[in-house]
């Protein structure tokens, strides 16, 4: 297969898998952050926000160490029978999830906070139990927050470069994503190919955001 198409496929797969995991983790985490009065809240918020300010290389460097066969993530992973994580697709997913977490958690947390406790209390007086309330009231009311979170998580994963380079390397068919492929093309002076991929990502990102803003404006 054309290596560029392969990179596109890996990028989309990575973004989809990461977004799914991000939502599964981000929704409960954001809900907890929006409702809790626990003193650890600030600590957790800070940790979630760190990828926003850290250079991707710093994050990637520590991830590389953590994913190593004897690292805090790689060790248990291998003990459970997994293969190595560094320079694999699974490693990329872990890196992307951590890197994009604030982009998912923050819009969700804002959406949940904006709902407040009033509609949830009303639902409680109308015989809805805690889970029922969450799925029938909270999630539908946070719809635009959910869409924003999923989009940002997806788009941010598509566009990530530094972390991927640090922990994924550049293995075509395994860990070579679009942003890296572009970098490779530029390095090899293949500007036409770089243009093609860059313009593709630019259009895709623009369209995605435009659609989301349109949806949320309604």
């Amino acid at each position: 297969m054309n290596p560029d198409l392969l990179a596109l496929w890996i990028t989309l797969r990575l973004a989809l898998v990461s977004t799914l995991i991000l939502l599964l983790l981000g929704v409960p985490l954001a809900w907890w952050l929006a409702r809790t009065r626990s003193p650890v809240k600030t600590l957790v918020e800070t940790m979630v926000a760190l990828p926003l300010v850290l250079p991707p290389t710093v994050l990637g460097f520590y991830l590389l160490i953590a994913l190593a066969p004897r690292g805090v993530i790689g060790g248990p992973w291998q003990a459970l029978g997994g293969n190595g994580l560094a320079f694999t697709f699974a490693g990329l997913v872990i890196g992307s999830v951590i890197y994009s977490l604030p982009f998912v958690v923050q819009p969700l947390q804002n959406a949940f906070t904006a709902i407040g406790s009033a509609p949830i209390e009303v639902a409680a007086t109308l015989r809805a139990g805690p889970f029922d309330r969450f799925f029938s009231i909270v999630l539908p009311m946070a719809r635009s927050g959910l869409v924003t979170a999923a989009t940002l998580g997806f788009a941010h994963t598509v566009g990530e470069f530094g972390v991927v380079l640090m922990i994924g390397g550049n293995i075509p068919g395994e860990t070579q994503v679009l942003s890296i492929a572009i970098y490779d093309h530029v390095e090899s002076m293949e500007y036409a190919n770089a243009h093609l991929l860059s313009a593709g990502i630019l259009c895709f990102s623009f369209l995605l955001l435009f659609v989301i803003y349109r949806m949320n404006a309604r």
């Binding site: 009033a118 509609p119 209390e121 009303v122 639902a123 409680a124 007086t125 109308l126 015989r127 809805a128 139990g129 029922d132 309330r133 029938s136 009231i137 539908p140 009311m141 719809r143």
Partner: protein
């Protein structure tokens, strides 16, 4: 069973609603205890900040309390000493919040059915068609809440609470956010609701006129406490309570229509203390209605007034006199055992030498239909 106070109390009066809640929030302390009838409308009356809303929230199980005891019709929902707490979503109640709080993502129909769908089939006692009809919701069913007017929203909110087949309906100033016109639009629905369903209603308000129109029982709320409660007519004629100082203070008479006078467009009504003429009321002979007699519209004379423009003069006995200001006093009188209030000047009181036991003629300048 030791500590099971709910059970012990419920044996005394199966149909009553009993509560006792204690909690503290900063400077505010709630310590409210009362028993109220298990039928009709009970008004919870007090200034803002007196704890009315907090008390309703306690009853719904929405507040964390230090001590809580609540039973409705012999069924215990909460007794902290016995470790009993029924979660809010397992309490069969309807809560009409002050600001409506319709679910914005659901159409009116889905809002109405939200609680109904979660009510076990064998406990459903209210039909959607009845509610739609009672509250005039038919044209609104497919609309979203943000397209409704304030009055429409409140009607849907009431309907949604009723569709929950509640054992008790809690209404937290449902008309507070509405202007006079909208209130007038809602009131008839509220009165219908009271007569059509036998659901006890606990109605929070700081508007005495609203209370007079719909309540049967009155609980006074002051600084987180419920020091006084009783039948509305008795409570309204108490001159020692805060409401007596209200501009609209006065008594409520329950009367029976006995005759219509078409010549002068009047209706004659009767109560234990005598007969009254009121402006022609669109009621049948034999109908009962509530009349509101404001203290400011009652004057007292020692001799039978003759040749007066005032149609209604009844004989009464003074039971109590209370000074309200350096210039005004409130006199409580009884006519045939029915209490009335008269607000007169302190000078008149002094000149007539009004005191308990004195027989007087009460001139009633006007009455207002209470419902």
């Amino acid at each position: 069973m030791p500590g099971n106070r709910c059970a012990r109390q419920s044996r005394m009066m199966e149909t009553d609603i009993k509560f006792h809640f204690r909690l503290g929030r900063g400077d505010f302390r709630l310590d409210a205890e009362q028993a109220i009838p298990g039928t009709g409308v009970t008004a919870l009356f007090g200034r803002s900040g007196s704890g009315k809303t907090t008390l309703l929230r306690c009853i719904a199980g929405l507040e964390r309390v230090e001590e809580g005891l609540f039973s409705v019709g012999g069924e215990c929902w909460q007794d902290t000493r016995a470790g009993r707490f029924i979660a809010p979503h397992k309490r069969a109640l309807g809560f009409v919040f002050q600001d409506g709080r319709l679910f914005p993502h659901l159409r009116v129909r889905a809002n109405l059915l939200y609680g109904h769908r979660r009510t076990p089939r064998d406990q459903r006692r209210v039909l959607l068609a009845d509610i739609v009809d009672l509250l005039g919701l038919a044209p609104l069913m497919d609309r979203y809440p943000d397209t409704l007017s304030g009055g429409e929203k409140q009607r849907v909110t009431m309907g949604r609470a009723l569709m929950n087949s509640p054992r008790l309906l809690l209404m937290d100033e449902p008309m507070a956010g509405l202007d006079r016109e909208r209130k007038g639009e809602i009131m008839p629905y509220l009165e219908n609701l009271r007569t059509r369903f036998s659901i006890p209603i606990l109605y929070v308000s700081h508007d005495i006129n609203e209370i007079i129109r719909i309540a049967d029982w009155l609980v006074i709320m002051e600084n987180g406490r419920t020091p006084d409660a009783g039948p509305l007519d008795r409570m309204l004629s108490r001159i020692d309570l805060d409401i007596a100082g209200h501009e609209d203070a006065g008594a409520m008479l329950s009367v029976e229509v006995i005759k219509h006078d078409d010549t002068f467009h009047l209706t004659e009504v009767r109560f234990a203390g005598g007969q009254l003429l009121i402006p022609r009321a669109a009621r049948q002979i034999g109908d009962r209605l509530r009349l509101r007699v404001h203290a400011r519209d009652v004057s007292l004379t020692l001799d039978s007034p003759s040749r007066t423009s005032i149609l209604n003069v009844i004989t009464a006995v003074v039971t109590d006199v209370a000074e309200q200001s350096p210039s005004r006093v409130l006199v409580r009188i009884e006519a045939g055992g029915v209490p009335l209030l008269a607000r007169i000047t302190r000078k008149s009181c002094h000149d007539l030498d009004l005191r308990a036991g004195l027989a007087v003629y009460a001139q009633i300048k006007s009455v207002a239909l209470g419902e």
